[in-house]
């Protein structure tokens, strides 16, 4: 599509991620204890951040949909859940690839790892439910409840390193009552990668919402029904 702002943003994103790679491999110093494996941190942490952000948007979109019945909020929640699942998977896989050389194993049943896996399973269940729900209005309402309830696991994942003793490293950037535990080049690169991954999230979300809008339009054109953006309220018996 000509003059599509999303196509331009995609190009900015590709250039930005390439610049990020250069910073990760050629600018930041190698960490003295962990060696080169520590560089996984620059994609592992931004993936976790985007997963939190995506599931927070699922929460907000689901609440807004239940309050207004405006299907556009449901599209936002649904599209965001897909991106959240992608980045939670990337977070887990990169964590495992860091764990093998550092811990000597890909996986330990540490609270942070286990809860992240639980989070992934919940939102994969959310997407599986959406894919199989026969009644789209009822399906969207039930999915909204799952989306809201699933978010309860996010603070548990984030604070698990403070609340329970585990193998996962403690927080290094937003630490309670202290400055980030890393040199400025590492911090700048990390924040830059967080910004790039956030941009990727925005692009994916916009594309996802556009796709759901097109699917809805096709459904309406095929049924020859007049277009409507408001789902009917469920009847109360």
């Amino acid at each position: 599509m000509k003059n599509d702002p999303l196509a331009f943003t995609e190009k900015v994103l590709a250039a930005g991620l390439a610049a990020g790679l250069i910073a990760v491999f050629f600018w930041v110093p190698t960490e003295s204890f962990q060696g080169v494996s520590q560089r996984i941190f620059y994609v592992h942490v931004p993936s976790a951040w985007v997963a939190y952000l995506a599931f927070a948007v699922v929460l907000l979109g689901s609440i807004a949909y239940l309050r207004t019945s405006d299907v556009r909020w449901d599209w936002v929640a649904h599209a965001s859940a897909k991106v959240g699942v992608l980045f939670t998977s990337l977070n887990l896989v990169t964590g495992m690839l860091w764990g093998r050389p550092i811990w000597g194993t890909y996986w330990v049943w540490d609270p942070r790892l286990t809860l992240t896996l639980v989070l992934l399973v919940i939102y994969m269940g959310y997407l599986a439910f959406r894919a199989t729900a026969s009644d789209s209005t009822r399906g969207a309402r039930i999915a909204s409840v799952i989306g809201i309830a699933g978010f309860l696991v996010v603070p548990l994942v984030h604070f698990s390193v403070d609340w329970w003793r585990g193998q996962h490293p403690a927080r290094t950037v937003f630490r309670p009552e202290s400055a980030p535990a890393m040199p400025s080049s590492m911090l700048i690169t990390l924040l830059y990668m967080v910004a790039m991954f956030t941009l990727a999230y925005i692009v994916f979300l916009a594309l996802g919402v556009r796709m759901l809008r097109l699917e809805s339009e096709i459904e309406e054109l095929e049924s020859n029904a007049p277009p409507s953006r408001i789902h009917p309220q469920p009847s109360v018996s």
């Binding site: 080169v36 991106v83 992608l86 990337l90 050389p101 994916f204 095929e222």
Partner: protein, 49 residues
Amino acid sequence: MDDLGYLGVAFVLVWFGIVVFLISVTRRQKALEKRVEELRRTANRGPVE
């Protein structure tokens, strides 16, 4: 050397995930746009007399 291998696999997987997601969504979007266009054309043509 092993550590470099794990690092390489991690970065390749992240970029692969991002690119595959982007390509699959873009392809699906194009297919949907085409279908919408077809349906609109059919709807505008109206019933054949």
